[in-house]
Amino acid sequence: MNDESAFAGSEGAESRPAEFTLELPSDLRMIEAAVGYLVSRCRAFAFEGPRLDLNFRVGVTEAIANAVLYGNSSDPDKTVRVDVSLDDQRVVICVADEGEGFDPAGVPDPTAPGNLDSPGGRGLFLIRKLMDEIEYNDRGNAVRMVLVRTVPARRSGKGKR
């Protein structure tokens, strides 16, 4: 259903961005298939390696899971919208839910000594570590993440900091 079929193959990806969208029910069971679709589309544009398999995959999984669980509170009447735009330099992923939003600055650091053995609280932290840019809208119900496709550093998984 996407319009960028003109880009099929990696050549087109050099010139203008490929775009793809999902609009998903608020159900955790669909996350694997949704992320699988996005990864596969990215791969078709010659994006690959740990930046795709680790950074993109985990970052997007976390953002969608939070949108389903906290944003939409698994409300069967709400959807999560994912918009991805990919050019030869970077991929931009927006994940939006229909929730009230939250204050991302208020989320504690899970690597602080007292938090290390907490069962939760690592999702947003991983997004911040794995993505090159992350920004919430004012309300806090939509996140925009940017991931550079290749980094000079050798260990792509830890490409920043």
């Binding site: 694997e32 680790l54 999984t61 899971a65 690597t111 690592r122 999702g123 991983l126 830890k158």
Partner: protein
């Protein structure tokens, strides 16, 4: 994801095939807790065939480790590929778990 458990020298070995993520972590948790309930105390989770883990998957490992320790038992991990290892390092969970390179190494050190 699917996983299967086996017994090797008194250790319950769990192989995780596929992703360990928010949609399926409950299954792994329940399985290990059942074994713990049944009296088992030594656990090894092997990630040789694991695709990726998200924060919920990491969280399940943390809470299992805690519950096993509370019963005087021990949980070890083995065969983390480079990507998975990166996740443990980023979250500093590599300091919390005993992580072996291979299954044999993990089993022999219990």
């Amino acid at each position: 994801m699917s996983f299967h458990t086996s017994q090797e020298n008194g250790v319950v070995v769990v192989d995780v095939d596929g992703q360990l993520i928010v949609g399926n972590r409950q299954e792994l948790k329940q399985k290990v807790l059942d074994e713990l309930e049944g009296g088992e105390r030594k656990f090894l989770i092997d990630f040789a065939n694991t695709g990726y883990i998200d924060s919920s998957g990491l969280g399940v490992l943390v809470s299992l480790s805690k519950k096993i320790r509370e019963q005087g038992g021990e949980l070890r991990l083995s065969n983390l590929n480079e990507d998975l290892r990166t996740l443990f390092e980023l979250t500093k969970l590599d300091t919390l778990f005993s992580i072996a390179d291979s299954r044999e190494e993990a089993l022999s050190s219990f």
